[in-house]
Point group: C2
Amino acid sequence: MKENADVLVIGGSAAGLVAAMTAKSNYKDKKVVIIRKEEKVMIPCGIPYIFGTLESSDSNVLPDGGLLKLGVEIKVDTVTEINTDEKSCKTESGLEIGYDKLVIATGSQPTKPRWLKGRDLENVFTIPKDKVYLDGLVDRLAGFKKVAVIGAGFIGVEVSDELNKRGLSVSLIEKEPHILALAFDPDIAIEAETMLKDRGVDVLADVAIKEIQGKSKVSSILLSDGRVIETDAVVLSMGYLPNVQLAKDSGIQINALGFIGVDEYLRTNVKDVFAAGDCAEKRDFATSKLSKTMLASTACAEARVAGLNLFKISTVRKFKGTIGIYSTCIGDTAFGVAGLTEEAALKEGFNIITGKFTGMDRHPGKLNNPHKQSVKLVVSKECGRILGGSVLGGVSAGELTNVLGFLIQGGMSISDMLVAQIGTQPMLTASPAAYPLIKAAEAAAKNL
Amino acid sequence: MKENADVLVIGGSAAGLVAAMTAKSNYKDKKVVIIRKEEKVMIPCGIPYIFGTLESSDSNVLPDGGLLKLGVEIKVDTVTEINTDEKSCKTESGLEIGYDKLVIATGSQPTKPRWLKGRDLENVFTIPKDKVYLDGLVDRLAGFKKVAVIGAGFIGVEVSDELNKRGLSVSLIEKEPHILALAFDPDIAIEAETMLKDRGVDVLADVAIKEIQGKSKVSSILLSDGRVIETDAVVLSMGYLPNVQLAKDSGIQINALGFIGVDEYLRTNVKDVFAAGDCAEKRDFATSKLSKTMLASTACAEARVAGLNLFKISTVRKFKGTIGIYSTCIGDTAFGVAGLTEEAALKEGFNIITGKFTGMDRHPGKLNNPHKQSVKLVVSKECGRILGGSVLGGVSAGELTNVLGFLIQGGMSISDMLVAQIGTQPMLTASPAAYPLIKAAEAAAKNL
């Protein structure tokens, strides 16, 4: 059986979805087909919340309505081979499907490092974007009292907080000096760590894991300092690896970090083949270095660029490098970061200054669930440009982080900030006289 | 008694505060003095909330701590005369104070139009930024059952909502077709109006007020269509007029709209005299036309520019024109706008397109008090630049409005938005695949 698609997208998560929707809505006459493995696709960033706040993973399904309404065809199947000469793919079910343009959005899978002894014991889990596996995991965890989460990146932290909410006794183990240490400077990371501890998670930072112990099932974890942590189960959140085997087998170039090589239009080295999302090469916005940052929001941006440039490329629709705009929550406190942290900027050799400000996110500070709000800006000393920054605050800190992201993308400088206008409202924002981004810019200006 | 200040600021509200703080923190050796009329200064945007949510106006006082900590001197007094030749001011208490640089930040006062018969009856009130008057008003209102608010701008709407919360029967009368009609396009204005009605405020729009009736006290209001609204009290929120008499009397130029004329450094026509805030000239960011927009946030931006440029001017620290970034709340719903509305853009002759998107402000849309979120972008058809936009949403819509404001200030275009990166988090923002600003940009791109 052979079919043809104008645009074939492999993968149905964030990048696949956005690539297909962008393709179909910009090139209406083209036949756009998604092939994905999953019957129901998980909202990637929502996954940690199926362990606590959400009642079921069914509340965390990426809706197909938008795709179907646009006229994108969805096939649940697994692509086993890409033939880039014949421009066609074969699938597990025996389908052969030709394409004019191909978008590879095969995503990533959790790392389960080979060096980790005990990694295959019973009750050692990971967090893949796989509903069936995750539903099973939620069920299994219900029978446990103690769980150890290995790796305190965003997913490890959010999963720990949710499992703790659900009543499990959670140990979170991190080899860096603090949780979230790769995303945030120590000031914010320490604040986040303290909050997570106060909420009852047993955080063990600055210590590596040596092995997972047990006979057939997990019984404990041996740490590098000799401590033994007893546990019923282990959740590995030690990062993700791009799924590139399919691309590699078809002769598409893989970069030095193991991602599918792409240019600024998200084109691979093979004509008419694009890649986007976790599996595709990323370069840092500030340094242009290859990067491993995987974010659903970055994936969506890449996929949008891929979709726009499928049939004609445009210099104003290039992807300009990964900024890395993240946020997370611990209880009612939100933490966000965009662009370079102070530590990363110094490590890369940027000549920087910083500026900080702490205030309240409402004014007067008694209205409408007020929350402390802190901003730090990382600024190039030569030109005053904003290279990055971080935010701590209440629920609006997510959008405040996006303000930061747009300051970076707009190439705005401290001088721009000093004369910038903002909108403020007592129930919604900080005071106009103490708007944190502007006050942090003032503080930075004094260090220029 | 004669004193001298290096920088003398007249007025202690938002503009005066920020001008003085900016001056003192950028020019540490200068003696900076504020003369203000009020012992305690009200946070201007918080005033509506003293009528309901806040227990007392004492919770809405602008703190002096920041000024005092920096070393700004505060005098509670009234300036009666500025002598720009001798560079000195006289005050009500008999003080004479010389200045090197003067910043006039005398603010504005509520309009009480001369044509309005009955304006001076007992129980006709306004909303000045005067704690003593406002405390009296709060006390008086406690004795009433019915109150009519005239003028449904931001203050009228917020005061009505708060008085309604407090149990008063509130009629809100507006001559425009809808509440908030000067700030928002009808789509959002109608939604706001419906919510305010649902909350119990009796909104009478599209009808003018003819006169306030009563013998010595207010008893009713006669509308232009002949209806008579019985009421115990009237609150006039019909706009504000700049306080310019002091400047005018000293020979400083006043512009055609009645504001103190200033350039982009906030300098008046008289050497070493600056003006900022509600009393100072405003020009629209997009049209460069004189504008009457008075906002505490704009006042702070102007004051910061004035403060920075007092002793040396800098082209990168010019004020670039008033964008007008507002937000407000009705219940749990926030409404925001930045830059040109669709109606204003068309009226001014811009060739525009718009793009809209409605989604949820969390993802999945069941987490953390989700709220519907809508964005409309107003875009120049020639160049794709974002000229303005509006937002409806939950509590993070205030910062989302600021994102919009920075897109305008950064000169960003629809193409920039199509390749833009954002940060998303389930508890804090919309989904990365349905981030409203980017989806609205996509919709606008299709109309380009």
